[in-house]
Symmetry: D2
Amino acid sequence: MIKVAVLGAKGKMGAQTCQAVAAAGDLELVAALDQGDELTGLTDAGAEVVVDFTRPEVVMDNLAWCIEHGIHAVVGTTGFDEERLATLRAQLDAKPGVGVLIAPNFSIGAVLMMQFSAQAARYYESVEIIELHHPDKVDAPSGTARRTAELIAEARREADSGPIPDATTTGLEGARGADVEGIRVHGIRLRGLVAHQEVLFGDIGETLTIRHDSMHRESFMAGVLLGVRRIVGTPGLTVGLEHFLDLS
Amino acid sequence: MIKVAVLGAKGKMGAQTCQAVAAAGDLELVAALDQGDELTGLTDAGAEVVVDFTRPEVVMDNLAWCIEHGIHAVVGTTGFDEERLATLRAQLDAKPGVGVLIAPNFSIGAVLMMQFSAQAARYYESVEIIELHHPDKVDAPSGTARRTAELIAEARREADSGPIPDATTTGLEGARGADVEGIRVHGIRLRGLVAHQEVLFGDIGETLTIRHDSMHRESFMAGVLLGVRRIVGTPGLTVGLEHFLDLS
Amino acid sequence: MIKVAVLGAKGKMGAQTCQAVAAAGDLELVAALDQGDELTGLTDAGAEVVVDFTRPEVVMDNLAWCIEHGIHAVVGTTGFDEERLATLRAQLDAKPGVGVLIAPNFSIGAVLMMQFSAQAARYYESVEIIELHHPDKVDAPSGTARRTAELIAEARREADSGPIPDATTTGLEGARGADVEGIRVHGIRLRGLVAHQEVLFGDIGETLTIRHDSMHRESFMAGVLLGVRRIVGTPGLTVGLEHFLDLS
Amino acid sequence: MIKVAVLGAKGKMGAQTCQAVAAAGDLELVAALDQGDELTGLTDAGAEVVVDFTRPEVVMDNLAWCIEHGIHAVVGTTGFDEERLATLRAQLDAKPGVGVLIAPNFSIGAVLMMQFSAQAARYYESVEIIELHHPDKVDAPSGTARRTAELIAEARREADSGPIPDATTTGLEGARGADVEGIRVHGIRLRGLVAHQEVLFGDIGETLTIRHDSMHRESFMAGVLLGVRRIVGTPGLTVGLEHFLDLS
């Protein structure tokens, strides 16, 4: 039984994490803290792993404290840049054996879709991305679509792929979508949808499609729990859940 | 057995039509004419229906001659505007019993997709169109996608539907596709594809998707033959294959 | 404002209906009755339309009472056979002006999918149905898939369509799905899904796909409200929501 | 320039290979042999790699000769069992530096679909396979679908995955498809289709779909050429094109 504590336990993701940890047979929820609670509650409860779903303003202090006290961390809070990651690496160097996972996306399915897309990219002349979301979303394309496009563009550069063919000369503005590093990305907004993405690869005589459909937040819990189970044996800093997936 | 002649018999569509007519048990191919051949070949052969896949420059003369000689016509040649249709109507008024079908699209599947989309339109808050084609296509979005959007927009106006919800405030240019009468249309270009279209309708808790995949020109023949069989019993001018589909 | 009452108001569908009626600008919820409440509450409240989501054992008494008191009814309760429908018809004959809608399926999307499938059926050599549901469903194929297959089979018989081509001679048991009146139906069960169906039509060089995705019960409310609005002007017995959709 | 020869050059796949090799800038077609031609034509032409699309009865002799003469081979001919593979391994041990690729499937897309499916398998509670083909196919399910199911079943065993959930208790025979090592496989047959497959993974709140659409034989050429380019640097026996894909 791994002893797990949650920081930001009253938020949507934190509360969901508390439930998921409590329901897992190999994990024990020993503390559920939120704003105003003392971090000493973590050591008092004997937490081995902390899951942090708090806010950018407090997460660095939380992590410094956890690393200092030898507690591993799985972090879903946003706002990490290269400077913050460098700070964490230095702190972890001073405490060998402690591990921290920073995960921008806990959806195993979304991470698989991105990894598979990067792997397939070098084998196809054409590729486009369609992301589909509910109409209350304010940004287009989605962050996941942009990230997927970047990974694909990087894989194509490494493979010396030529430009993607496109003979379009006339048409309506916007018809061919947005351009993210040379990859066309289309954002669909439709009542009834939640969060979906389709990556289409094409070459002579064949196409390959990778699609991920995300229906609710609960789907992130498998990724959070995977992070918890793997971080105890993975010292140092890990950025991205993909490093905990066995894809060979 | 209906006696059928083809004008433009050496072109791609004309040649395919000759084969399809010859293979049909209830039709007889009595003449296959092309540039340079005399139209008297049609009456000599006793043609009852002519299928015209010629060019905009000659099609009006062809049709005037056919109507004059009491021969029905099924027309896939492009370039018809309101003026030309008015001319045909006047010629047909003078020859009761003769029928002419002008069909911009002989794909029964594409016509069904458009009809169903127009019918479904009034029942959904959201709708978007994705068309997918080979990367050698020069225009985006496709003519079929534009036509579908127009039909949907018309149906929504008739049903007093409100504006389609879309909270997008930030994003990349083109991410939300092209705007055709208020309907968002996205054009995908991918090696390996031929001609495909998906119409997505969405409302609270559900979505409806109508998709047509067209793999080769041969698929138009069912529509051409349907036109031939129905035009003999449909005097006057008919514009659009949808009028020959039984959709009640 | 149409005055609406709900019978079975504490059940899942009944409760949802109460909310939906209350939220609609042109409808007024005047009574919400459940087991043990007197039907006189309907007349006391001046209900013009009753929505019945009760049980097969009580629905016939409810309807007899409503018809007798000149109240229209929209019925989602199951268990109607020819005998019950005949009884209702006789009761309605005696009270001209009163309307009753019996709807086995209030999902407008599902009804559209079935109607479009029946319309498309005559134009395609091949057709198969794939239904996809959560893995806790006990029956396969789904009732909607069976009903769709029956409608397609009927349309093919009317159009004198030949047998669907299938050269399968060797294989594993069950690989080609279930046979419903000659139509192959495949049932997929997958965690994460809710209720989905895809009808695939195919002919030389093209395919047409109609897909409905139902994510939650709330999606039935549009159909219930449509029934309420239309039943006040539709005397007599109506079986099936499709009669209230404008599909011409 | 790699010097390439084709055995079985008059067959469909062989002829296509000749064209593809001739069109590739980094490959030179030096010999195109068929039944009746002497294998000495290979050494006379200085062939470095042979592509064999012949028949099970002659392929072992062809390969023995090629290995003996230090020519690498890429083999699409069928009929290899463990005994044949052992024979080849022994022959190759005696000629270090020579490489032979035996590939049951040259479609890079199909191989990617299978590899991704095996990788994703351990992360999902549910998985099913839908394969869709033209109606003239005699076996169901397809060989690719069976192979995919075997790979998924193996990955689930390695990951100690529990049984796939399925509450079906009543239904029609065949509705839940065929059972391949515990994985449900559904075969759709539809005029207009060629060769398609969809692998669906599902877990709480999300699904992942990997789909491959194969439209014509030409799509296999990318895999054949990849085999030719890689076999010159890969001594010994390689079974399966997946070993030449960079999937890390």
